[in-house]
Structure formats: structure tokens, C-alpha cells
């Protein structure tokens, strides 16, 4: 019984201790960023706080929360989540729909619009309202390859042949709704959604179920049938790779993996319906958001801090630290950024890519379904009619997510 009593007392103590700790004032500010930039962000916030003594009584904490997980995490409990957080743009609509973001003030929206490239500004918008601060303009993909294996990175057929001959692999994540459209968009198909200001999807523009889409699907199927093809887009999960379609965030990992044979280029061309087609894809952006605040002073601090963290000078510093490609026009013009090998490959590729708009969460799952079906060989030897039926089904499902 003594133990039971001790248990009771222990529990009471835990409660007594914990409750006031939680209720402690609202002078704290939480920031979530990717693990790679935690230290960088901490240092920048210190600089900011030093320049703004009026906010000296605020304690700012920085936690590493993967940008991909940020939306899921903050939606668990908006009130306990971060005040300022970084996220990839594809989560914008989900966050806006759940009111987890506050729109920018008119002044800040004007600054953001003036200083950043057009794609990133439109990516931060829902309808006419700007909901986030652009952070990077490098969420696109291109080709990393091993110079000693891949002689000619300009056509997919040549790359695949080189890899096959060397017994090496080419990685391309056709399962992902982000990489997969490289084929379809390259063929000239479209897939975009219209949204209103509340984050709801009003219309879907898609023409996958067409001759162009059919060509893209056939090219995908042919590509996956090569023994050199492996589905994937993460350097650290790639084994025996000679080529990988990936983004700038993996640049240092790719350098380490390929060593002195490291090279990068825009995506290759692929033969569809008898002609060479340049692969396209998405140009995406990372954004920094502020959640709704119940206190004017804290909101003002969040606004200023977010603006500062996404400013040109910090973006440039961030590039120097972790090589994230800036969205700020002045930072993009910096000679160091201009000279970056990976970023210039991305730049060339982005000329063929479309700026990523808003997509409903279900779209990514649906794209994975299509990708899985292709990789699993469901369409092996299927005739045109069967493939067209699959594309039609995909298109219909995509349309059903809007409105």
C-alpha cells in the first residue's frame, strides 16, 4: 500500500510541476526549420534580436522539424506548434485550409513581391493573398551523374545504355507526384489546379488522357523496363548509382558519392512518339510561414523576424552556409550563386519546368498509385486502349479532387 500511496503522491507532484510550466507566459517564440539550418537560423535570430532591443523579453527557440513533416506536425495542434516554420510549397493549401497560416501584411506582401522571383511569389499565394515568405527557389530537380560512366547526359536513352553497359543504376523517382510529371509535362500535357483564397480547390486543368499523355506513359514504361532503372530520389538511399535525378539539397551528398566524377546537367531528352522531347518537371519553392497569433506585439515580432529570415542578405548567407538556392533576385545575382554548378544545372532545367502551383493532398497519393502500377509492370505489353483507359482513370480521379 505504501507503494500505491507513493505512486499517488508522485503523480500529484508530476501534475503540480508540469501545469505551471506549461502556462508560463507567452513571451516565447518557436521556430521550426530543417535540421541542416538549425544552427544557421539560431545565429541569424541572434543578429536580429540584437538589432531589435524592443523584443528583448522574448525567448526564441529553434527546433529541427523536417520541412516535409511541418504541416502534419503543426496541424496536430496549431496552438502548440511553431510560430514560424519552413515548409515546401505543396503544403500551402493544406495549411491555409486549416487556418494554420496568417496572410502577410500589405507592406510585407509588397516587399516580398518586389524582391523575389515571380515563381516563388505566386507559389506563396492563395488566390490574391500572400500567405508565406519565399525562402528558396531551388525546389526543382535535375541530373547528377558520374562522368566516368555517363558520357552523354543529353538523352535518356544514352544514359540508360551507358548505365546498363557499366552495370550501374540510374535513379529516378517516377513514383512521386513531383518527379513523375517531368515526362508528362515534357510531352506537353498540363496538370494544374485553381484555388480560391480559403485554400479550396475550384478546378482542375488536366489533359493526361491524350496522345501526348500516352506517349509520356509509354516512355515511362520503357524506361522502367531497363535493368538499370531504380526508383528513388535520395542519394543516401542509392546504391551503385551512376545517375540520379535529384535536387540541390543532395548536392553535397552527391559530391561525396561520385567523388571526382561528380557532374550535373539539366534533365535529358526522351524519345516519345518518335521524336526527342525535353523532360520538364516542377520548379518549386520553400516557404516560411507565420501561424495566426492572438497577440499584436508577438505578431509584429513574427512578421519582422520572418521577413528578416527570408530577406536577400540572409538568403545569400544561407546559400553560403548550406547551398540552398535563393529566391531573392538580388541574392540570385550574386557571383557565387551564379557560379554554382548544381544551381546552374537547375537553372537550365527550370527553363523547361513549370512553376509548381497548388495541388490537393490526394494528388500525391494518386500519382504514387500510377507510379507503383508502372513500376510493378502492370502495364507491360498493354495495348494503347488499355493505357489510355488508365490515363483516363487517372485524369478523372484528379478532376474529382477539385470542387
Amino acid at each position: 500500500m505504501k507503494k500505491l500511496a507513493a505512486l499517488l503522491i508522485a503523480l500529484c507532484m508530476v501534475f503540480a510541476l508540469a501545469v505551471p510550466a506549461c502556462a508560463a507566459g507567452d513571451k516565447t517564440l518557436k521556430v521550426w526549420v530543417a535540421d541542416a539550418v538549425v544552427d544557421f537560423t539560431k545565429a541569424q535570430i541572434e543578429t536580429f534580436m540584437a538589432a531589435h532591443p524592443e523584443y528583448a523579453d522574448y525567448a526564441v527557440t529553434v527546433e529541427p522539424v523536417g520541412e516535409g513533416d511541418a504541416a502534419s506536425n503543426i496541424l496536430t495542434d496549431v496552438e502548440a506548434g511553431a510560430d514560424i516554420f519552413g515548409f515546401p510549397q505543396d503544403q500551402l493549401s493544406r495549411l491555409v485550409a486549416a487556418d494554420a497560416l496568417i496572410e502577410l501584411s500589405d507592406e510585407n506582401a509588397a516587399i516580398v513581391a518586389a524582391e523575389n522571383d515571380a515563381g516563388s511569389v505566386s507559389a506563396a499565394k492563395m488566390g490574391d493573398l500572400t500567405y508565406a515568405y519565399p525562402l528558396t527557389s531551388d525546389n526543382g530537380y535535375f541530373l547528377y551523374y558520374d562522368k566516368s560512366v555517363v558520357k552523354d547526359p543529353s538523352t535518356l536513352e544514352a544514359i540508360v545504355a551507358d548505365c546498363e553497359a557499366a552495370g550501374k543504376k540510374i535513379y529516378f523517382d517516377i513514383r512521386s507526384g513531383w518527379y513523375q510529371p517531368a515526362f508528362f509535362f515534357g510531352a506537353g500535357c498540363v496538370l494544374t489546379y485553381d484555388t480560391d483564397e480559403s485554400g479550396a480547390f475550384t478546378a482542375c486543368n488536366i489533359d493526361y488522357a491524350s496522345d501526348k499523355g500516352l506517349g509520356a506513359l509509354k516512355a515511362l514504361i520503357k524506361f522502367t523496363e531497363s535493368p538499370a532503372f531504380v526508383n528513388g530520389s535520395s542519394v543516401s538511399n542509392a546504391t551503385n548509382a551512376a545517375a540520379i535525378v535529384d535536387g540541390t539539397w543532395d548536392a553535397s551528398a552527391a559530391k561525396e558519392m561520385f567523388g571526382e566524377n561528380y557532374a550535373c546537367a539539366k534533365l535529358p531528352t526522351v524519345e516519345m512518339n518518335g521524336e526527342a522531347v525535353q523532360l520538364s518537371g516542377f520548379g518549386g519553392f520553400k516557404l516560411l510561414g507565420v501561424k495566426p497569433q492572438t497577440d499584436d506585439e508577438k505578431l509584429a515580432l513574427c512578421d519582422e523576424l520572418a521577413l528578416y529570415l527570408s530577406s536577400g542578405e540572409v538568403q545569400l548567407a544561407r546559400y553560403n552556409e548550406v547551398s540552398w538556392g535563393p529566391s531573392n533576385l538580388a541574392a540570385q545575382a550574386d557571383p557565387a550563386v551564379q557560379a554554382d554548378e548544381a544551381l546552374s544545372a537547375l537553372g537550365q532545367q527550370l527553363a523547361f519546368a513549370i512553376p509548381q502551383g497548388q495541388y490537393p493532398g490526394e494528388y500525391w497519393g494518386q500519382a504514387e498509385a500510377l507510379g507503383d502500377s508502372i513500376i510493378a509492370g502492370d502495364y507491360k505489353g498493354a495495348d494503347d486502349a488499355a493505357l489510355m483507359a488508365a490515363l483516363q482513370a487517372f485524369q478523372d480521379t484528379c478532376i474529382s479532387y477539385a470542387g
Binding site: 531504380v230 497569433q293 492572438t294 497577440d295 505578431l299 493532398g361 490526394e362 500510377l370 502500377s373
Partner: protein, 453 residues
């Protein structure tokens, strides 16, 4: 229902009689709980009653009523903006959660009040008959003797109530609301919608996703069946091999197998999952040795993935069965085997006619719990391949190896679709309950609980 009203009538009558026949102490106890007990010298009971009344009333009035009063609408005050500052309105989620909690508190108060009245009545009757009341010391002592069960169970029952029962009631309620991605507290309200979500599931009036539901349900059942029985029989085979006469190093074999139980699954399963990736080590060695010419897409092909998951589950599950069977094999009377040997039965025959029936009889309940555990076996599926691969034929993000539980987990985490997840949760419960009921009622070894003592 009829019985309930009859019981209620009887109870009300008794309360009436208590009030009419009671003295002023009892009458006042109707308002101030524990008053009569205190005045009659039962200080412990009196204080306990009074404290409980005070605490519950304080909780209900100070905290709970605010939520309980809105439970029918789940809140009406919208969140709005004052300049750029956000002013949060009602939080439907908290209204439902704390509303339920308050409702429970109200019932507890009514129950305690009834208990309080009964105690007063009993005390009064006892005194009238000239008997003495139990003293404070006796009351306390009985908590460690005659009423020890109440002491022992109080905390566990309370804990289960608050942290298991209440959340389950809450989730059942969610199934009748429109709590989803576009109705998320604290900024958005959600409200009651009746049977809408169930209609959506079965496709009544609109595009349902019943097809996907039954597909996932089908695989859940197939998986649970194979995961349970394959591990059971193979585990038994391994145990029999290890325990075979003339086999040495019994302990070593056992220890090797038992590693999979000891190493935390998030380590072992994540690693094993990677081993079987297209570019993983298994494919790499098969290619190097020239056994295959092209990597096998273990996780990309639905059929391969399903088979592989069952096989990997054997790796996890066989050691458990092996341990259990090892313990039980010793219990089988040796004479049975001897007489079988004399009859000239071969090992297979003895297995079929002696070992297996015995095992099935004794481990029936174990098999049932294993089966139910496998229906909800989240870890194996989730850590290995998250329910992939997906298929164009399935909606709502379901994959070919998704169990109902992993599917509803994805719905809550990735899509914030709580209402549908709750509906599926209820379905999982129904499936589990039906299977358990059928099996439980046909199993010989569970019927007579007292028989073991």
C-alpha cells in the same frame, strides 16, 4: 428498456421514502453530501463524500459547464480577425472532449449522491434497530481487507476510464461529425452530421469508397490468418526440431531465435525493410551471384510485397511460438507417445494424432489473441513499407498491403480526415468483436474459468 424504467421507478421511490422517513441529518444530506455521516460520527465517509461533492461541483461549474452547454452544437462562435490579430472562437474539439468529461462528472455526481442517500438510509435504519455503525477505523481497515478490491481497482479503473474509455467514446462521436481537413479546430468549427460518414463509406448517394474498404478489409483478414497460423505451425515445427532427442545445443538455437524478440522492432524491421529494397543488399547479392538478371521489386509489386511481409513476420513471430510450444511440449504425457510408438506410428502420425490436438486445445485462447493482435498489427506493416504499393484501383491513399489500422493512421496523419478514420475505427472494432465472439463461444478451454482453480 422496460426493466430500466422499472428499476428507475423503484429507485426514485426509495429516495422518496428516505427523504420522508429520514431525520433532519438525512434530509440535509440530500443537499450537503456526507452531512449525515459526519454528524453520526462516520467522519471518514463524511469527509470523503463532502470532498467529492465539492470537487466535482467545482469542476463542473468552474470548468466543465462552459463546454457541456455547447455540446449539442459543438460551438457557434467563429474565429475572427481583429486587424491582423486572430481571436479564436469556440474550439469544437475541446467542447466535445471536455463536454464528455463533464458529462461523466455529472453522472459520477449523481451516482455518489445516490450512494450518499443510501448510506444515510442504512445508517439510520441500523441505529433505529439499535445496532452500532462501523467506526472510522473499521471503515479504513475494510479498505485493506473486505473492500480491498475497491482500493486495488480504484486507480486502474479511473486510469482506464479517463485514458481509454473516454477517448474511445470521443472517437465514436467523431464518426458522426464532419471533422476533417476543412473543419479543423481551433480556427474552424465542426458539427454533428448524423450518419453522413457511414453513407459515404458504403456509397449511398454519392461516390463511396466502399470498394477500397472491402479490399483493405480482405487483405487485413488474409494477413491476420496467415500471420497467425503460419507462424503457429512453423514455430511448432522449429520447437519440435530443437526439442528432438539427440539434438545438442538446445539453448544456443533458442537464444539465436529469441534475438528478434529482444531487439526493438523499429531497429530490426526498418533494417530488414531496407534489405529488400530494389537496390538493397538482398537484390545486390542475388544479382552478384547471378541468380537473377534483374532486381526483384519486392516492395513495388503488390503480390511480392504481401508475400514478403508475411515471410518477414515469420521471422518475428516464430520465436514466440517456439518459446510457448517448448514450454508446453514438456507437459504432454510421455505415455501417449510410448503407446503410439508401440502401435508403430511414425513421427508424422504421432504429431497429427497427439501433439497437434493437444496444442490446439491448450493454445486456443492464445491463437485468438494472436489473430486479433495481427488484425491490428501496425508495426510490421508500417515499419516495413507503410502499406505500399499503391494502386490506381484504390482511393483515399490506401495501398495494397495496408491494414485497416495503417490506413486509418494515414488518414489522420496525412489527410487530417478524422471523421472517416473514426468510421473505419468503428468498423475495425465490429470485425474484431464479431470474430472474437464466434471463436470465443466455440472454444472449449475458455468457458470454465473457475475450473483452473
Amino acid at each position: 428498456m422496460k426493466y430500466f424504467f422499472r428499476w428507475l421507478g423503484k429507485d426514485l421511490k426509495e429516495i422518496g421514502i428516505t427523504f420522508r422517513e429520514g431525520d433532519w441529518k438525512t434530509k440535509l444530506s440530500f443537499l450537503i453530501m456526507g452531512f449525515g455521516q459526519l454528524l453520526r460520527g462516520q467522519i471518514v465517509r463524511g469527509i470523503a463524500m463532502l470532498a467529492l461533492e465539492g470537487g466535482l461541483l467545482y469542476f463542473i461549474i468552474d470548468f466543465g459547464w462552459n463546454y457541456l452547454s455547447k455540446i449539442l452544437t459543438l460551438g457557434t462562435v467563429e474565429t475572427y480577425k481583429e486587424g491582423r490579430k486572430t481571436v479564436y472562437g469556440d474550439n469544437s474539439f475541446l467542447i466535445l472532449l471536455y463536454g464528455l468529461l463533464t458529462l461523466v462528472a455529472v453522472f459520477a455526481l449523481i451516482y455518489l449522491w445516490r450512494l450518499n442517500i443510501r448510506q444515510n438510509r442504512e445508517a439510520e435504519l441500523r441505529l433505529k434497530r439499535g445496532k452500532r455503525l462501523p467506526t472510522n477505523g473499521e471503515d479504513l481497515a475494510s479498505l485493506f481487507d473486505k473492500n480491498f478490491d475497491k482500493t486495488l481497482l480504484a486507480l486502474p479503473v479511473l486510469g482506464i476510464f479517463v485514458f481509454t474509455v473516454l477517448p474511445i467514446i470521443f472517437m465514436i462521436c467523431i464518426a458522426f461529425t464532419n471533422y476533417d481537413a476543412t473543419h479543423q479546430p481551433p480556427s474552424k468549427l465542426f458539427t454533428w452530421t448524423g450518419l453522413e460518414n457511414f453513407k459515404e463509406l458504403f456509397g449511398i448517394g454519392g461516390q463511396g469508397f466502399g470498394g477500397t474498404f472491402f479490399y483493405v478489409l480482405g487483405w487485413t483478414l488474409i494477413w491476420a490468418f496467415f500471420a497467425t497460423f503460419l507462424t503457429y505451425f512453423l514455430g511448432m515445427a522449429v520447437a519440435i526440431m530443437i526439442n528432438k532427442k539427440g539434438i545438442r545445443l538446445k539453448k544456443l538455437w533458442r537464444t539465436i531465435l529469441v534475438m528478434t524478440i529482444a531487439v526493438p522492432q523499429f531497429v530490426s524491421l526498418l533494417y530488414v525493410g531496407k534489405m529488400f529494397a530494389v537496390d538493397g543488399i538482398v537484390n545486390a547479392y542475388l544479382l552478384k551471384w547471378g541468380w537473377i538478371s534483374q532486381a526483384i521489386p519486392f516492395w513495388q509489386n503488390a503480390t511480392y510485397a504481401r508475400i514478403l511481409i508475411i515471410v518477414i513476420n515469420l521471422w518475428i513471430g516464430i520465436p514466440y511460438t517456439m518459446l510457448i510450444v517448448t514450454g508446453l511440449l514438456m507437459n504432454i504425457p510421455a505415455e501417449l507417445y510410448e503407446s503410439a510408438n508401440i502401435d508403430g506410428a511414425n513421427p508424422l502420425q504421432t504429431f497429427w494424432s497427439i501433439t497437434l490436438p493437444y496444442m490446439l486445445f491448450v493454445t486456443g485462447p492464445f491463437l485468438l489473441t494472436q489473430f486479433i493482435g495481427n488484425l491490428n498489427n501496425f508495426n510490421v506493416i508500417f515499419l516495413l513499407n507503410q502499406g505500399n504499393p499503391k494502386s490506381m484501383a484504390l482511393t483515399k491513399n490506401a495501398g495494397s498491403t495496408d491494414l485497416l489500422v495503417t490506413w486509418l493512421y494515414k488518414m489522420t496523419i496525412n489527410d487530417s480526415n478524422y471523421k472517416i478514420a473514426a468510421v473505419i475505427g468503428i468498423m475495425v472494432f465490429i470485425v474484431t468483436a464479431v470474430i472474437s465472439l464466434i471463436v470465443y463461444n466455440t472454444m472449449p478451454s475458455v468457458k470454465d474459468e473457475e475450473g483452473f482453480q
